[in-house]
Amino acid sequence: MTSREFIRWARKSEPGGFPWWIAIAAAFAGFVAWRGTTGAWLAGAIVAYAFAFLRVPFLMYWRADASLLAQLPIEGAALFDAALYRCVVAAAITTAVVCAGAAPLADVRPLIFAGALGLAAAFMLPAAVVWSAVLVANDQLAAVAGAQTSAQGASATLGAIPGFAATAILAPALIASPWLTGGTAKLPAPVVLGAIAAISVLAIASARAGAAKVMAVILRDVSALDRQRLATLEIRPPTAIERAIGGLLGDAALPYAKTARLMRRRYPMAFALGALAFLVLAIIGLAQAPVEWLIATLVGVALYAGVLAGRLGVPPIELPRLALPFPRSTLRRARRAWLVGWWAIFVLAPGLFAALRTEPTLGGALLGAGTLLVLII
């Protein structure tokens, strides 16, 4: 099967949904027009690309069909090209949203900035995640040969390298960002953005040559490792926070305890991203950053909370076919308690601190709106 044929099949297997990105682009443009500053655009753009970068491993190999694809006699090049195609489409959508957001600024510099980060999302991050997966696959092969290895170490590689690559792209871009408003940056923006674009193209060219040979191995080993890692991770009793929240829930305590344990095991990323949001909000508060950073971060976290709310109601967290004697209202209360707990710890507490240190009225109103949203969904 050629790359083109396989991509056609892959596209068929993923039904298109509502184009939410158009609404997000319009909202972003509205936000930038309201604030009227390049800083507002930059804050939104960085949050958008941070999400795009973190999504890349899920587009490449952490997918439901990974183990099936690994078994089929599909050439590694086709597997890699299809994965890359998904990344390019996702990066193009993110870039379109970010460029639409820059429309009120009527300036070409944000578009150049977005273009460089878009190339990184499309090419550099996929190259980095494939490289980390190759290391893991080689590690697994070494384990078969008798060398020492560990699931935790391999998993750390899978998470750390893409995270490091994302930081290595966003940090210099931020340092060079005064160029957007004609200011003097510590790093020259043309050099930084040009380097990001050039390295992205070179990285994907070199990754494609190597990845095509091992893509099937990557899919098989990473999906197997993912199963192994998540299955053996955190088979632990409820935490003190979970017990405290459960104690307040009455008849919803049991389904809440179940949801809390399953979310810890199945979606550890929710806690990693929550911790990241906590850190970013704390830095915004400590640095008394412009309120646009607080707004962009809160919007991003609120969108992610919406994703989590969707996951709470479906397998493997909720099993309607198990036909247990819980009223729907009890299950809803348990799910809401988990989401509100997550929001309170990772967003509300540091968000209040950041709001008080930046713009208490606007920040407080946004936090209130976000909390209300979490309570409703």
Binding site: I235, P315, P320, L322
Partner: protein, 241 residues
């Protein structure tokens, strides 16, 4: 009488999966639900369990209409779906323990039950790591743990090795002896006929045969393939297929 179905209808779009089914299920009775693929067996079991909403008719448990009865009444119904619905990130003990607690029972029941079903050794393994047969057994354990009065098993005996099948039969017979009504759909007629007290045959959503008591004893006395012969005779004689 544990449960009654009165004119049960389940409609999928234009297709009637269950078409006016009326049966009464008695305490202490193991009922075998037979029928060709697509006969409506699984849909019937899922509708009784409350996993899908009936389009018409009435399902009553202990005289109470399940549509209006308190949700807690469903704690008396155990259901093993096909494939069994398991919390993949729970260990076997956690999964069965959670179901027991949801039904208001003690988790102290769990380990002895797992022991009886030959699952004690894998009690601490996550459900997602289990083989097909083990998943079936965990589904069975979850269906019968706690104060269940009606146990619904959808192809749950499929994929069990001979030891597991025997222990499953023993556990189910004990549950029936303690007053539970057990209904199981299966195509493994040889396994099921060794333990059933009643045979229901469905086709195209309707009940086409109901054999029990002396009639069933007479049938079984005819030989080891008596139920299979009954099934095949019904299909041919009534022109069902």
């Amino acid at each position: 009488m544990v449960a009654t179905l009165d004119g049960l209808v389940v409609q999928y779009g234009k297709r009637r999966a269950v078409d006016g089914l009326s049966i009464a299920l008695d305490a202490g009775e193991i009922t075998l639900l037979l029928g060709p693929n697509g006969a409506g067996k699984s849909t019937t079991l899922a509708a009784i369990a409350g996993a899908i909403l009936p389009s018409g008719g009435r399902i009553a448990l202990g005289g109470e209409d399940l549509a209006t009865a308190p949700r807690a009444l469903r704690g008396k119904i155990g259901f093993a779906d096909q494939p069994p619905a398991l919390y993949e990130y729970f260990t076997v003990e956690e999964h069965v323990g959670f179901v027991a607690q949801a039904r208001g029972a003690s988790t102290a029941l769990v380990l002895p039950l797992l022991e009886r079903l030959g699952l004690a050794k894998i009690a601490q393994r996550p459900c997602r790591e289990l083989s097909f047969g083990m998943r079936q057994r965990v589904g069975l354990a979850a269906a019968i743990v706690g104060p269940v009065e009606l146990v619904l098993l959808d192809e749950t005996l499929n994929g069990l090795d001979p030891h597991a099948a025997r222990s499953a039969r023993t556990v189910l017979r004990d549950a029936a002896d303690q007053g539970a009504a057990i209904v199981m759909s299966t195509h493994l007629l040889g396994v099921a006929e060794r333990m059933c007290d009643r045979v229901l045959v469905m086709d195209k959503g309707k009940l086409v045969s109901d054999v029990r008591g002396a009639e069933l004893a007479t049938l079984l006395a005819k030989g080891p393939t008596a139920i299979e012969d009954l099934y095949l005779a019904l299909i041919v004689d009534e022109g069902v297929q």
